[in-house]
């Protein structure tokens, strides 16, 4: 399907929002405005945006500990996210979830997940709902290369095949699970081939190329929406930063890090669309300026916003009070 100018703008806006948001997270984290730890999505923008680009609010995704990018790509409000990550009452989960538990049922976002391998089974269930209710919608499970080794992920693949549900498994292979290389932890010669052996198609796609990801996802959607069962993608990505913000990364050479940056999906997108005269640099710069303003506003509002009130909020939203 050909992309209109508006589509292209939307794609760039989405990718750049992730970029700007995550860089702001880095900055706010350094300044002590973000409690706990944060895993940012820098470098993987094209994967999340390519996957989510043609999803509607009532298509579902299940995400990971590195979920900010998936949330933004799925349309979750950036200010609500920033407040959540800062632990503020106005956050999208009232400050109770934080970075690793952002969810938005109205946007089909079933939650970041701090358990590696937590989301794939849940996505199978969301896909089951679509199958039984004949909605024509899908559920996507994002996982990393590390998560591809978790038993729950394998079970989900098999279950999806057996139940024939419209689940799409996206393995974002950024080469590392924390500090250990995927080439070590994935014993198989090929992650994708291992997935395929479960009885579903799995495409390997350049996760730094928005267009490639979106096209592959188009085939996945075509397949899943037409009752042909699950589908999978391995999007090969680069992680720009460490596992978490602040990871010194002695286990990666400066050269590798430089190569990762050199593969940056955003300039690549810019070059492609300006080169083909579909959008101008001015178009893209305008988007960037708008997005930066939104992120700036979110961050400023986030810092100023109040934290939840223990008396009101601590024991709410769980069915019982004790002690």
């Amino acid at each position: 399907m050909q992309l209109s100018r508006d589509d292209l703008k939307r794609a760039y806006r989405s990718m750049f929002t992730i970029r700007a948001f995550e860089e702001r997270v880095e900055k706010e984290f350094a300044e002590g405005n973000i409690p706990g730890f944060a895993h940012v999505y820098l470098g993987q923008e094209a994967s999340g945006v390519g996957v989510c680009f043609d999803l509607a609010d009532d298509d579902y995704i299940g995400s990971t500990h590195r979920g900010h990018g998936h949330c933004i790509a799925k349309g979750v409000d950036v200010k609500g996210m920033m407040l959540e990550i800062m632990g503020k009452a106005g956050g999208i989960c009232g400050g109770k979830g934080g970075s690793m538990h952002i969810a938005d049922m109205n946007k089909g976002m079933l939650g970041a997940n701090a358990i590696v391998g937590g989301s794939p089974p849940i996505a199978v269930g969301a896909a089951l709902t679509q199958k039984l209710n004949k909605t024509g919608k899908v559920a996507v499970a994002f996982s990393g290369d590390g998560a591809s080794n978790q038993g729950t992920t394998f079970e989900a693949l098999n279950m999806a095949v057996v139940l024939g549900v419209p689940a799409i498994f996206v393995f974002e292979n950024n080469g590392y699970g924390e500090h250990t290389a995927a080439s070590y932890a994935v014993g198989a010669p090929s992650l994708a081939e291992r997935v395929r052996s479960f009885g579903l198609p799995c495409e390997v796609v350049d996760g730094m190329d928005f267009f490639a990801v979106r096209e592959a996802m188009g085939r996945a959607l075509e397949h899943a929406r037409n009752g042909k069962g699950p589908y999978a993608l391995e999007t090969v990505c680069k992680r720009f930063l460490g596992h978490f913000v602040g990871d010194p990364q002695a286990y990666r050479t400066p050269q590798e890090l430089a190569e990762a940056r050199a593969a940056d999906a955003l300039p690549r997108f810019r070059a492609a669309v300006t080169g083909a005269s579909l959008l101008t640099d001015e178009d893209l710069d305008a988007i960037e300026a708008e997005v930066l303003a939104i992120v700036e506003e979110a961050a400023v509002a986030g810092v100023a916003a109040p934290m939840p009130d223990p008396d009101r909020d601590l024991t709410r939203d769980v069915y019982l009070k004790y002690a």
Partner: protein, 336 residues
Amino acid sequence: MSRKTYLQAINEAVRQEMQRDPRVIVLGEDVAGGQQSSGEPGGVGSVFGQMKGLFNEFGPDRVFDTPISESAIIGAAGGAALTGLRPIAEIMFVDFVGVCFDQIYNQIAKFRYMFGGHAKTPLVIRATAGAGFRAAAQHSQTLHPLFTAVPGLKVVMPSNPYDAKGLLIQAIRDDDPVIFLEQKFLFGMEGEVPDEAYRVPFGEANVAREGRDVTLVAFGAMVPRALAAAEALAKDGLQAEVLDPRTTSPLDEDAILESVEKTGRLVVVDESPPRCSMAGDIAGLVADQGFRSLKAPIKRVTCPHTPVPFAPSLEDAYLPTSARIEAAARAALAYS
């Protein structure tokens, strides 16, 4: 009204709720049975027959078999619940929750809270529980303390056919995740069970027998044993009150405290190893909030701190007996 077994009560509850609400589905290993076998599919209906006939009545889109992958079963049920269905997932023996515990305690139990109250997870996990079947260490546990310890889960232990039906219907209509522990030992127990649907609310204890001298609190398969102990005590004119909380979470704290206020003496019977069990849980409650009424040490009658042994001689000694319950009650009564 008619006499039904505990097993039939469970089957009827699910059937009626499936008739009533198209969002209710059943999934698990062999809940239908015989998928892609050479003979008749659907005839198994769970290994003890709890789901018998449902596959034939509701078809493969409402009742379906799964691979042996409990994490995927519970995760799929959780995801389906988040997105509008009301799944009933079966874990054949509750002992198997170890392979899917993350999906239970970190996922479905926490969604509502972690997501700031913006998600609900209406999901029932049915699992058979309890010893006495010579099924050894990995097929005989109760594990209700494990679930009770998890904020966000409701935990149900029906002790008779009437409650089994009413509590299961409540569980299916509940918007929170519920662990429904079917007491294997009671499957054959008969009782009056109304034909129509009804609910037994959670967190409301049943006074299974009234008495003024000592309070016996028991759950699930231990309730009949506590009643037998009460019967024996009655022969000596000792009036034991038997309280069946029905759900360990939420727990009817008021009923327990009120009963102890009356009797001043408490025995908690728990089919579980003793440590961090419901026996301690309730003792802790009463030793704090009911302290002034207490006239004697709180007695806990539990299993020993061991796995469930296989040999019948050992398993019989493993389980709390009515004799042990009676002895504990007598000790509490004798104290002054």
